[in-house]
């Protein structure tokens, strides 16, 4: 999408922008300063706008087409639904090229994307990328959704069948989402006609991390996905332990992931089951795991030595003796 500047009204909107002098810092502004400790707003007269004339020094004269993915890169948030592109699956015409159409609720489709991502570690923005994008062709999206609308029957629920999930939308605090999630999973029977939200949040803690996180187990369908997600989430804590600093550090940081540490058996992923026992993750089929897992913990390898499935039996026997 190329955006263009529409010249409207009396505003002198020029296409080659320069910093125009505008008096925003009238004295009256001082009283509306929120931060009580900005002492001298009077310095406005020092801002010589003419001297700070800016010219955009971009290589192309118009805004570039977005070729690479952008935006909506899922931040490391535990309880946010993973991203899906904001395009209905039916509509092919205006879809961006090279764009994987993923339908909301079709977690398997997204799983493919995740696998693709974890396969291309370390490279900056691979071509197909993480396919999580709000299409830059915003207008096309809105057009296509409107087309869907006019085709669909009236009524409240006439939005396209393929609904997209977007990070942080609708804007509801995660505290509220988590609370609703845990309460619905408790009483799906008791509340009439209200479908379960189908989320399953468990806490994830990690030795040495300052605080714990939550993940929704229902957004994953395999251990592989869970492990990738946790990697992302907790890598900021492990990087400190790598002892990497400085400008060098940054590139290397993105390459060394928790996975490597896991493989180096520095950290192990464990979970607490319904009986309160701590087990190693990965031994039972995924479905059974999601049903029995109460909590997750990333333990230091040394602490988890006693937690091989065999050892769990042993400790149970010990208690009986």
């Amino acid at each position: 999408m190329s955006y263009r500047l529409l010249s409207v009204d009396k505003e002198e909107l020029v296409t080659s922008p320069c910093l125009k002098e505008r008096n925003y810092l009238g004295l009256s502004d001082c009283s509306s300063v929120d931060s009580s400790t900005i002492p001298n707003v009077v310095g406005k007269s020092n801002l010589n706008f003419k001297a700070t004339e800016l010219r955009l020094g971009l290589p192309e004269s118009q805004s570039p087409e977005r070729e690479t993915d952008f935006g909506l890169l899922s931040p490391r948030t535990p309880d946010e639904k993973l991203l899906f592109p904001l395009l209905p699956s039916k509509d092919n015409g205006s879809a961006t090229t090279g764009h994987k159409n993923v339908v909301s609720g079709n977690k398997r489709g997204f799983a493919d994307t995740w696998d693709e991502f974890s396969g291309v570690k370390g490279s900056v923005r691979p071509g197909g990328g993480i396919n999580m994008m709000l299409s830059p062709k915003v207008k096309d999206v809105s057009k296509s959704i409107q087309e869907e609308r006019s085709h669909a029957k009236g009524g409240l629920n006439n939005a396209p069948a393929a609904k997209a999930q977007v990070v942080g939308w609708p804007p509801i605090r995660s505290y509220r989402k988590n609370t609703m999630a845990s309460s619905t999973s408790k009483n799906t029977d008791e509340v009439d006609g209200k479908p379960g939200l189908g989320v399953l949040f468990v806490k994830v803690s990690m030795d040495g991390a300052p605080y714990l996180r939550k993940v929704d187990l229902r957004t994953y369908t395999s251990y592989q996905q869970l492990s990738s997600a946790l990697e992302k989430m907790f890598s900021c804590f492990t990087l400190g332990q790598c002892g990497l600093h400085g400008a060098h550090g940054r590139e290397r940081m993105s390459e060394i992931k928790l996975k490597d540490l896991l493989h180096g058996s520095e950290f192990v992923l464990t979970y607490e089951d319904k009986d309160g026992d701590w087990m190693l993750v990965g031994d039972v089929p995924w479905e059974i795991f999601t049903e029995t897992c109460q909590k997750l913990k990333i333990m230091k390898g040394s602490d988890s030595i006693g937690l091989a499935p065999g050892a769990v039996e042993k400790s149970k026997n010990k208690e009986r003796v």
Binding site: Y3, L19, P39, L58, L73, P75, V124, I145, L197, P210
Partner: protein, 585 residues
């Protein structure tokens, strides 16, 4: 220039001036006024913890008694700010502990607070009275225990929607038997069960306790027992209401509530079964604030409750209330000032609730004092917005979230431009505005022109071009906080109105078309702005024209911060140094 007030006289005069805005003006008059003001200021508010250094604040206001700080940008509430971004309370606690030992009150919002911070607070401020943490994270119940154990004169301890590492309910037993000063306790966001006997004893020996907000682990029996010991409560957050209904339980509950003759505010009500709601009827006539936003109860039960709440000023509820329920609210709750309607099923596929724009129209027509609205709805119409604006020109806060992005007026298929124009034009006192639905650049022309008092503006999935930002930044005279996501504007308007940014607290943009080159330029040319690029990939590895994921720009006198994580890039003011990433682990 001859008149010079003795400083004692000036001090006395200033003691009548409470508002920080006024005090800021006072401090600019002359040096001696500045000095007198700073020495007498008791309450300090810092809206962006990175706008000024903790040391500077501590030094300037040695007599401060109450400190309020805000950390992360507002969109952090919706997970748009990656974890680890910043907002650490520690440097502030440290600075205050060193210079302002008389500090009594700390209120933090969206900040990272560690157990260490809490222990330091407990150890450093001998007369500490008030701790309110809203949407904070990073600490455990151990830190809370330290506060409970050490702060002998603690009056207020409120944890509002915090993410706390819950190590168990022991923290409550750390309140010493001698502590009797508690006025407000809110532990609703904690998971673990506390020992009910400890809580009963604490409540019994706190005659000044006015506000008590329990966590879901407190049972109905527990609630009854606590209410019996604290009939003087004015604010109550219940525990879980999900216990099995026994006849005696119900009558005990009913009786306990009817003895609370001063109850004005009620919240909690998680998992409330509709059969329990009649137990609340006795307190309804006195309620001014009711939070039913976690109560999964159907419309008829809600109406039965709400029709008894004739004094209600603040209502938070879910869309289960439906249009019909809101119609009832409009006729029974004539004192209503604030309405928030949350979605019960945020996923669009499950949106099947008969709540439409009509519900809000009912309330706008029926409740003359309505001034604050937060409304989630699947679709909306211009006509509804026009009616709302016409009926309620006294609106101060209007936040409409049309859940479907780019949703036009579903009756006419037009953008919602006209509707929001009416809101901006009609509601002259509007301070806060959130827009949604299909909006063209025109909508922002109207908003820029008419929304003269709007201080905070939130925008998502809107606009066509750079004009949108241009309209906003060249208008909106009072704009202080602007947050935008997924809108198709780019560099031009941002650079053109760079100076405006220094008049604002902050600007957040995510998933827009702003290029790294523009960020660099902006940062280099505007010395008192911090321009933070929040991007997983190093911006230098891409062409300067390529867009960045997120940008957070804020004015500051503290210079670039030293605690950025690896995904936050601050462009150094000296172009030769280029992009720097100063991280202190």
């Amino acid at each position: 220039m001859g008149l010079r007030l003795p400083s004692k006289v000036l001090e006395h005069i200033l003691s009548f001036i409470d508002s920080n805005e006024d005090r800021n003006s006072v401090s600019l008059v002359c040096k001696s006024w500045f000095e007198t003001e700073r020495k007498t200021r008791k309450r300090v508010f810092v809206g962006n913890c990175y706008a000024v250094s903790p040391a500077a604040v501590a030094k300037r206001f040695p007599e401060v008694r109450s400190l309020t700080l805000k950390g992360k940008p507002h969109f952090a509430d919706y997970n748009l700010v990656p974890d680890g971004w910043g907002g650490y309370a520690w440097p502030w606690i440290e600075a205050m502990a060193a210079k302002c030992p008389s500090l009594e009150e700390i209120r933090l919002k969206r900040m990272v607070v560690t157990d260490e911070c809490l222990e330091k607070i407990a150890a450093s401020f001998k007369d500490f009275k008030v701790l309110v943490l809203t949407s904070c994270e990073g600490f455990s119940t151990d830190g809370i225990a330290a506060i409970a154990a050490t702060c002998r004169n603690l009056r207020v301890l409120e944890l509002r929607e915090c993410i706390v590492e819950d190590l168990g309910g022991d923290w409550l037993s750390y309140f010493p038997e001698t502590s009797t000063s508690l006025v407000s306790l809110d532990f609703s966001c904690l998971d673990s069960e506390v020992k009910i006997s400890d809580l009963e004893r604490l409540v019994s020996r706190s005659p000044n306790l006015k506000s008590l907000k329990l966590n879901p682990a407190v049972t109905l029996d527990g609630l009854v027992s606590l209410l019996r010991r604290a009939p003087q409560l004015t604010e109550l957050g219940t525990g879980s209401f999900a216990a099995q209904l026994k006849p005696e339980a119900f009558s005990k509950l009913s009786e306990a509530f009817s003895n609370c003759k001063q109850l004005q505010s009620l919240s909690g009500l998680w998992d409330v079964l509709p059969e329990y709601l009649p137990a609340l009827y006795s307190v309804c006539p006195g309620l001014t604030s009711l939070n039913l936003s976690y109560a999964t109860v159907r419309m008829p039960d809600l109406v039965e409750l709400l029709r008894r709440c004739s004094k209600l000023q603040k209502l938070w509820v879910m869309d289960l209330i439906e249009d019909k329920g809101l119609e009832a609210v409009a006729s029974y709750c004539k004192e209503l000032r604030e309405l928030r309607v949350f979605p019960s099923a945020p996923d669009l596929d499950e949106a099947n609730i008969p709540l439409t724009e009509q519900g809000l129209v009912f309330v706008s027509k029926g409740c003359r004092k309505l001034e604050s609205v937060l409304y989630f709805c699947v679709q909306f119409t211009n006509a509804a917005l026009l009616t709302i604006a016409r009926k309620r020109p006294n609106l101060k806060c209007f936040r409409l979230c049309v859940i479907e992005p780019f949703a036009p007026d579903y009756k006419t298929n037009e953008p919602l431009d006209k509707g929001f124009k009416a809101i901006a034009e009609g509601c002259k006192d509007l301070r806060r505005l959130s827009v949604s639905g299909l909006l063209s650049d025109k909508a922002f022309k109207y908003i820029g022109k008419h929304a003269k008092k709007v201080r905070m503006l939130s925008i998502a999935f809107a606009g066509d071009s750079d004009l949108m930002l241009h309209h906003l930044l060249s208008g909106c005279e009072s704009l202080k906080k602007l947050e935008i996501r997924d809108c198709p504007f780019g560099d031009t308007a941002l650079l053109e109105h760079a100076a405006k940014l220094e008049t604002m607290r902050s600007l957040w943009m995510s998933s827009c078309f702003v290029s790294f080159g523009a960020c660099k330029l902006l940062s280099q040319k505007m010395p008192r702005l911090n321009v933070e690029v929040i991007d997983e990939h190093p911006p230098e590895t891409r062409p300067e024209s390529s867009p960045v994921e997120r940008i957070y720009i804020y004015r500051t006198v503290a210079g670039p911060r030293m605690d950025t994580p690896e995904f936050v890039w601050t462009i150094h003011k000296n172009p030769e140094i280029g992009v720097s990433h100063l991280a202190i682990k």
